[in-house]
Every structure is written in structure tokens, then in C-alpha cells.
């Protein structure tokens, strides 16, 4: 049994890696195969996987995860400015610093549960956001956002990059823009997914799930839940920091708007939409939201007129008017509606939806085959 499930996991990992690495090919017909969007898929996938470790497994809804994303970005950009344009230190420092902040915030916030936990994380997130805009301007560069500059010290490779204007991020000489950037993010995503899978399968993951289903009972049997919760919080904070630093890798720029609480809301959306507490769900959710954001917000009236040109004129104008509400700058309306529909009708997200459809087919097919055999 054990070895069987292990085989299953290996197969899952292999399939997942192949799907991720070949994404530029199979996303081609969907019109989503360009590096900037692919990078976004991978980065937000990582962010959502991490968030799912906290919210999906323990049921603690954090409304402040964007803080860690922002901290990761800032740290990575600072690493590019001070140390080297190599992405490895940037990513490592970004992840670690976000993790340290997560220890601090988590230690305080996890003293409460339920809605109070949400409010506490929200309060911390708002504090960091406000501070990033006001007092911390020397570090964050306030509204103009933190950028690379020509006169950055860049201790390790200043000599190499000095002559050629603003340098770009690199991995041992390989420039991290375009497809190499995507493949770097993709590899990180695969590693992140593997770690998350191991957490799901481990006794640690099981304990987290037990906390979600009945924390009181866990406490009554003499089990101190707090350290496990803190670990989950820190791990998911580090995932967010990792995603943030990857954002800086693909585009060395960090602004405070990444830390706004609506950004935290977005990752909640992704996780819920894909499937809370499932392995693959958050990545699907992140992909779907980022895909539709890109596609829908590019629509304008002309495109809509083209799409609906088969309708009679009067009807066409009406349809375009109505559809225009949902696309372009009104894309958030679609997102909000989609989100409400999922929460109301399909609390398990897309993964649950697929599972339901599958179960229906499975239920009908053996029945029909047995009828045939009779």
C-alpha cells in the first residue's frame, strides 16, 4: 500500500513537471504562451501553494499574506542593488527574510483563531503597507517603488556590469528575462510543489488537518497545537516571500501596492477557486485567474463587436454593451462574480467540480456495463 502510494506520488510529480515545463507549447493555442504571462502563472502558483498550506490545511484564514510577498520583493531588489545581479542570493534572502517576519507576525497572530486571526493578520498587513508608504521610504522608496540604479554598489559584480547601463538579473550569466526567466520560475515551482506534496503526506500535514477538523479535541488529548500552526504559518510566509522575490527576478522592481490587502484577497481567491486543501487546486486557481485577467482585460469594444458580429445589429449592440461591463477595466466584476458563485455553489473549487463530474461518469459507467453483461 505504502509503496503503491509512493509510486502514485512519483507519477504525479512526473506528470506535473512535464505539464509545467511544456507549458509554453500547450498554452500556445490558448494564446497565453508568452514569457511574461507564463512567469506570472508560475509565481502566483507558488504563492497560492504556500497560502494553501496555511489556509487549506489548518483552516486559518490569513488576510495579510501580501506582506510577505512585498517583503520578498524588496529584499530581492536590495540584494540586486547591494550584492550581485545573480538571482540565487536574492531569492534566498527574500525567502528567509519573509520567513523571519512570518515568525514574528505568526507568533502574535496565532494566539487567536477564527475571525480574530484574520483581523490580526489584516492589521499587521495594513501596518506594513502604511509604513512602507511613509516612514520606511528610505528602504522602500515609497510611491516611486524600489528600482535598480546605475550607481548601486553591487559588491560582487560591479566591475562586470558597470559599463553596460542598467544590468538585468541573471543566473550565472544567463539573463533572466523571457523564456529563461520562465524556466527558472518553473523549476522553482516544481520544487515548491514537491515540498508541498511532502508536507501534505507527512505526519506534520496530518496534524495540521487534525487542527482544522477539531482543534479543541487535539488540545484535550494533550497536544500543543501552537508550534505546528506557527510552522505552517512560517512555511506559507516563506512561500510568499519566494514568490515575491521571483517577481523581482523577472522584473527588478518592488512597490508597496504589492502589499495592499486586496492583494492578499487575491491569493485567497485563487486558492478557493482552485480547490481549498487540495494539492493541485491552488495552482489551477492561480492559472485560471491570471489567464482570464490577461485575456479579459485586453478586450475592448472593437474586439467584442468582432466576436458578436454574427448577431443582428440591434441585438449585437445590446450584447456588446452588456458584455463590455465584464471585460476590459471591468474585469474585476467578473472576478467578483466568479468568486461568489464558487463560494456559494462549489466550496471545494474547480477540483471538487471536476471530481463531481468524474464521480458521475464513474457511477453511470459501471452500471451501464453491468446492464450490458446481463
Amino acid at each position: 500500500m505504502n509503496s503503491q502510494s509512493k509510486n502514485k506520488d512519483i507519477r504525479l510529480m512526473a506528470i506535473f513537471s512535464v505539464i509545467v515545463l511544456t507549458a509554453p507549447i500547450w498554452l500556445e493555442p490558448l494564446g497565453a504562451s508568452y514569457p511574461a504571462l507564463l512567469q506570472k502563472f508560475a509565481i502566483f502558483g507558488i504563492f497560492a501553494i504556500g497560502f494553501n498550506i496555511l489556509f487549506g490545511l489548518t483552516g486559518y484564514l490569513s488576510f495579510g499574506h501580501a506582506t510577505f510577498l512585498g517583503v520578498g520583493s524588496y529584499t530581492a531588489v536590495w540584494s540586486f542593488k547591494l550584492l550581485s545581479m545573480n538571482v540565487i542570493p536574492g531569492v534566498i534572502f527574500g525567502t528567509i527574510l519573509a520567513g523571519m517576519l512570518a515568525v514574528l507576525i505568526g507568533y502574535v497572530s496565532l494566539r487567536r483563531s477564527g475571525i480574530y486571526f484574520s483581523i490580526l493578520t489584516l492589521a499587521f498587513a495594513q501596518m506594513s503597507y502604511n509604513l512602507a508608504y511613509s516612514v520606511l521610504t528610505p528602504i522602500t522608496n515609497g510611491e516611486t517603488s524600489l528600482q535598480l540604479a546605475l550607481d548601486d554598489p553591487r559588491i560582487f559584480d560591479a566591475a562586470r556590469t558597470a559599463s553596460q547601463g542598467l544590468p538585468s538579473t541573471e543566473l550565472f550569466g544567463l539573463k533572466m528575462s523571457g523564456y529563461p526567466g520562465f524556466y527558472f520560475c518553473a523549476v522553482v515551482l516544481i520544487i515548491a510543489f514537491y515540498i508541498s506534496m511532502r508536507i501534505f503526506r507527512s505526519p506534520f500535514g496530518l496534524k495540521l488537518r487534525a487542527i482544522k477538523s477539531n482543534q479543541t479535541r487535539m488540545k484535550y488529548i494533550g497536544f500543543n497545537t501552537r508550534p505546528y500552526l506557527l510552522w505552517a504559518f512560517v512555511i506559507s510566509g516563506m512561500y510568499a516571500g519566494l514568490a515575491g522575490s521571483l517577481m523581482a527576478v523577472t522584473d527588478p522592481l518592488a512597490g508597496a501596492e504589492r502589499m495592499q490587502w486586496t492583494a492578499s484577497g487575491e491569493v485567497v481567491l485563487m486558492t478557493i477557486l482552485g480547490g481549498l486543501g487540495t494539492l493541485i487546486g491552488p495552482i489551477i486557481g492561480a492559472g485560471v485567474i491570471k489567464y482570464f485577467e490577461n485575456i479579459f482585460s485586453a478586450f475592448n469594444e472593437n474586439v467584442l463587436h468582432n466576436i458578436f458580429s454574427f448577431l443582428p445589429d440591434g441585438l449585437e449592440n445590446v450584447v456588446v454593451q452588456v458584455a463590455g461591463l465584464f471585460v476590459g477595466s471591468g474585469w474585476h466584476l467578473t472576478l467578483g462574480l466568479l468568486f461568489m458563485i464558487v463560494v456559494i455553489f462549489l466550496p471545494g473549487g474547480i477540483v471538487e467540480g471536476i471530481e463531481k463530474i468524474r464521480a458521475r461518469f464513474r457511477r453511470t459507467s459501471p452500471a451501464s456495463s453491468s446492464e450490458k453483461s446481463e
Binding site: 484574520s118 483581523i119 492589521a123 499587521f124 495594513q126 461591463l325 468568486f339
Partner: protein, 338 residues
């Protein structure tokens, strides 16, 4: 002394807005057990009631401007002015108070639709689901408003007669340079009246008494043969009206835009938590207290010692309260203490 007094006054009008929104929020939680992330949107809708009334009042016709002679210039004159002259101008000037009359029925309707249409289905789901679905609703309503009114703030002035500042320094014998905008004073008085109204409705009417009984023990009241659900729906509508009125009156202070509600929502949630979930006096006290604290911490003298404190003071207080006294300042013992 003057400085402290003026900061106290500055805090009052912001605190009044916090208190009004938090009052509705905590009312909805205390009765229906709903954590409503769309409550800030109700505040915003109230403000946009004013915008709509103002827009309707100033529907204009194009008239040839005769003061410019060397080319044909047109100016827009509202129909109200062409029809009624001075009276029409005055009506437009009083757009904000007039909108109160329209905002009340609109907000009642919005509140009832929201409760019956969506929130009713979420009584039994956990708080996380409630937060999520109302968050989605908030996005949807915001985007609809943005579609019709645009993304830019729409400034609307207070009536001419109260648009200046009151020389309260002279009045109180504290020096000439102590002035305070009339409208903010009106806002404060208005909020006190509304809060008083809500409290006396709950305290001195039979209807309110039943609602309070339902907040204590919903099942028992139900067993006595009272349709408590219907009354709670009415209370939710009342909460919507309070938030809406807060928004209507706030338009001359800050020009409304489509996401003003979200900014206030986060703060009023903090206010509710500080005051104690479900506690009405707690929400009011905490609202004013945090408003005043915020205004004191933005004094230059304070900022020199603790830079940036004005940005985070409210959240710091909330964190401290949640850790030391989780049921809030005036929360009932045993309600939401973990």
C-alpha cells in the same frame, strides 16, 4: 491647550464615521452572526446616493452665453435654475441634506435585498465563508458603481451657509485662531443623533426589546412564537441605513470614489474588534476613541518622537486589545473569546 483641543475636535468627525459604520457592522454580527465584509460598500453606496441626487438636480441645458460676444459660447444651466431661478439654485446647494431623504428608502431596499438574497444562505456556514462571499459581493458592487460613475472622486460641496469654519475659539474663549469647519461639527452632531436614534429604538420600543432578547437567546425567542428572523432582517436593513447615512453626510468631507468603502471597512472592523464583537456601545466608544487617538498621533510633536505612528496607531491598539482582552473593551463574556 489649543492644539490638544483642536486635535480632539479633528478626531471627533473621523471617529463619528468609524462609530457609525462599526455600529452597523456589530449590529449585523450581534443579530445575524454575520461577518459582513460588504459593509464598507454600504457606506460607499450612501455616498453615491448623494452623487446621484446631485447629478439629477443638476441636469442641465445648453444656453448661449451672452457675456461672451466674439464667438458663440455655450454654458450649461441646470433646468432647476431656469425653471425656478433662485429657489432652484438653493435646492442644488442643499443636495447633501436632500439626499438623506432619498438615501433612507434606497438603503433599506439594498439592505433587505442583500440579506434575503445572499446573506441568509450563509448563517450556517463558518465565518471564513461569510467573509469570502461578502468580499466577493463588495468587489462586484464596487465595480458596478465604477462602471456608472467612473473611477475618479466626485467632489460635492456642503450647503453654502455651512461651508465655512466656525470660530469656536472665540466662542469658548480660547483664542482667535481656533477654527473648525461647520460641516464637521454638523457631521458629529448628526452621528450623535443617529446613534442615539438606534439605541433608543433598541432600548425603548417593544420591537427593539424583542431584537435584544433575540440577540441574547435566539432559540428561546423563537420558541415564544416570534419570527425573530424577520426582525433581524429589519435590523440588517437598519444597519445598512446607518452606514448609508454616514456615507451621505461624509461626501462634503471627502470626495467619494468607488473604493472609499474598502478603506473604511478595514478600519471599522478593527473598531468593532476593539469594542467587542456584537457590542453596540463598544463599537461607538471604540470608534470615537480610535478616531481621536489617530488624530492625536498625527500631531507633529508626537510624530517627532515616534515617526510613522499616525499610520499604525489604530492597528497597534487593535493588536494589543486582541492579545490582552480578546472579547474587546465591552464585549460580552464568553462571546467569541478564542
Amino acid at each position: 491647550m489649543d492644539v490638544i483641543f483642536i486635535q480632539l475636535l479633528n478626531g471627533l468627525d473621523k471617529g463619528a464615521a468609524y462609530a457609525l459604520i462599526a455600529l452597523g457592522l456589530t449590529l449585523a454580527f450581534g443579530t445575524l452572526g454575520i461577518v459582513n465584509f460588504a459593509h464598507g460598500v454600504l457606506f460607499m453606496l450612501g455616498a453615491f446616493c448623494t452623487v446621484s441626487v446631485y447629478k439629477v438636480l443638476t441636469i442641465s441645458e445648453k444656453v448661449l452665453d451672452e457675456s461672451i460676444t466674439f464667438f458663440k459660447a455655450y454654458k450649461e444651466i441646470p433646468y432647476l435654475e431656469t425653471w425656478w431661478g433662485e429657489t432652484g439654485t438653493m435646492i442644488i446647494d442643499y443636495a447633501v441634506p436632500i439626499s438623506i431623504i432619498f438615501a433612507i428608502p434606497i438603503m433599506i431596499l439594498v439592505g433587505i435585498i442583500m440579506e434575503r438574497g445572499l446573506i441568509r444562505h450563509f448563517y450556517k456556514r463558518d465565518h471564513a465563508d461569510q467573509i469570502l462571499v461578502t468580499f466577493g459581493l463588495a468587489i462586484v458592487i464596487q465595480e458596478i458603481v465604477k462602471h456608472f460613475y467612473g473611477a475618479n472622486p466626485i467632489p460635492i460641496g456642503a450647503p453654502e451657509i455651512v461651508s465655512g469654519s466656525a470660530a469656536i475659539g472665540v466662542f469658548l474663549g480660547l483664542g482667535e485662531n481656533l477654527v473648525y469647519p461647520w460641516w464637521r461639527m454638523i457631521y458629529f452632531v448628526f452621528s450623535v443623533v443617529v446613534i442615539g436614534g438606534v439605541f433608543s429604538f433598541l432600548k425603548y420600543t417593544t420591537y427593539g426589546m424583542v431584537v435584544r432578547a433575540g440577540m441574547w437567546d435566539r432559540e428561546m425567542v423563537g420558541m415564544l412564537g416570534i419570527d425573530i428572523q424577520r426582525r433581524f432582517t429589519v435590523v440588517f436593513a437598519l444597519a445598512a441605513v446607518v452606514a448609508g447615512l454616514a456615507g451621505v453626510m461624509y461626501t462634503p468631507i471627502v470626495a467619494p470614489d468607488y473604493h472609499m468603502g474598502m478603506n473604511f471597512l478595514v478600519l471599522s472592523f478593527v473598531v468593532v474588534v476593539v469594542g467587542g464583537m456584537g457590542s453596540l456601545p463598544g463599537a461607538v466608544v471604540a470608534g470615537f476613541m480610535l478616531g481621536i487617538l489617530e488624530s492625536f498621533s498625527s500631531m507633529n510633536e508626537v510624530k517627532q518622537i515616534l515617526p510613522g505612528i499616525d499610520q499604525i496607531i489604530i492597528y497597534l491598539v487593535a493588536v494589543a486589545i486582541l492579545l490582552l482582552r480578546p472579547r474587546g473593551l465591552m464585549g460580552r463574556k464568553g462571546v467569541m473569546e478564542d
